[in-house]
Amino acid sequence: MLLSEESYRKIDRELEKFPPTKKRSAAIAALTVAQDEKGWLSPDVIKEVANYLGLPAIAVGEVASFYSMFNTSPVGKYKIAVCSNLPCEMTGSDQAAAYLRQKLGIEFGETTPDGLFTLVASECMGACGDGPVIMVNNKNMHMRMTNDKIDRLLEELKQ
């Protein structure tokens, strides 16, 4: 029982979406639930999810490594992803990224020493009319990010 009772219940609800013989279809959703709880997908967590779905660990591991929103190594408490594609770049996403790098004192792919923030570059989030777009922990999208708004967001997260 590596995951919480609640996480297993969430995975059960995902399984209901598919025919009983197609449990593998719930792999992405189950890994998402596990990552939400654990912060990242360690080999043990991947194995546990695979066991729960009745799949070989390698099949689930392959999914974890293919989809970019899965963390296959530890990340900070807050993962900040900055969209880097053309429409966002045209609104100044590289300046937003530079500001974040300077404020946090880290480069893309790194985590602050206090373990609070990880910075990553990411691809189009489907909000290109409202760049620069950044996303926190895969779930919370923030748009039109000026330096001021970045300051406020980081303050809020530190609370």
Binding site: K17, P19, K22, K23, R24, S25, A26, A27, I28, A29, L31, T32, L55, A59, E62, V63, F66, Y67, S68, M69, F70, S84, N85, L86, P87, C88, E89, M90, S122, E123, C124, M125, G126, A127, C128, G129, D130, G131, M135, N138, K139, N140, M141
Partner: protein
Amino acid sequence: MTCLHGRHAEPLLFRGLTGDNWTLADYVSRGGYEQFKRILAERMPRERIIDEVRASGLRGRGGAGFPTAVKWGFMPKDHPGQMYLICNADESEPGTFKDRDILRYNPHAVIEGMLIAAYAMGITAGYIYIHGEIWAVYEQFGEAIRQAREAGLIGRDLQGSGFDFELHAFHGYGAYICGEETALLESMEGKRGQPRFKPPFPATNGLYGQPTTINNVETLAYVPFIMAMGGDAYAALGRNNCPGTKIFCLSGDVARPGNYEVPLGISFPELLELAGGMKDGLAMKAVIPGGSSSPVLPAETMMQLNMDYDSIAKAGSMLGTGGVIVLNETRCMVKALLNLSRFYWNESCGQCTPCREGTGWLVSLIERIENGQGKTEDLDLLDNVAANIMGRTICALGDAAAMPVRSFIKHFRAEFEYHIEHKRCPEASGPRE
């Protein structure tokens, strides 16, 4: 909140939406679900629905523009096993952001569109595949499904008609390639999102090997409106003999970026005007008219064009997803291309050598030119590498990576040459010295 600016030319999908009135009760008060209920009550023959969609001239709004009625007609008539309908909401082609707004502001139009499509093809199970990055939309859509189920619009024996339809939301988790329909199927089967060879098309060999129809969000969302007004009336909304309406996403150097629902065939200058014209009064240099994979066109060409499939194709590009990226006179075209090429390189699934290796080559060549280290022969090499990707891959991502490169060189060769000759980028937007 890009779509609530009230400047749509002929709104159907976006009429009267505030962002709060997305619930089932709101949709019903706008006449929602009446078409589906009428179809059930009349036990409308399936063929009549497909005829109406054919008359509407509706073509796939996911980018390929395949006629929707023809695609629906490919589904077997008396398949003994399960068949599936999938709504493709994996939108992630840079410059494309319409599906997210449709789902946020009018999710029940998508559900009713799916119900009608499913009835027309005799399908009893459906999924919507939602881009992982728009988590709030995924959760809200789950709520919309619950509302519809409670109202007896999803489930068994709907409205006492004997027709069943089950619908679930599925989410991706960060892979552009999963928008390609066969990669999407692999992803839904719990695998890496690597495209399959076509044929066989999903209509014969789809989810779990069963006949499957995959349609874009916008395609499906228009279906209830087409049934309400009739296919001919919907077609008549377009201009210059182009059928219907389309949502264009304007981004880049326009004053008011956002989604604009307009008649298909509207002139580009008129569309630009709706978006407030050019930002800061700067002149326009270029436009990418149909999502980042569509070939770029010079401003002069664009200003003469109507926004429809044929006009844009004749000018050497494509309507694609309707993601219109506008670049002003200060933009460095080499830098813009470098950004696009990096995207396709990152998102290549790696199955085909020309795509996996070719996209990497493209990036390093363009990087070299942008940084002032390019050689004269690099331009032909670049075009050559791109030409050698095209048509040699399993899915269209290879072409999507190659087309921007070839079109940027074709129309803006002088800028590339300037970088090579002067060993630097001339534009303010290029790399700083």
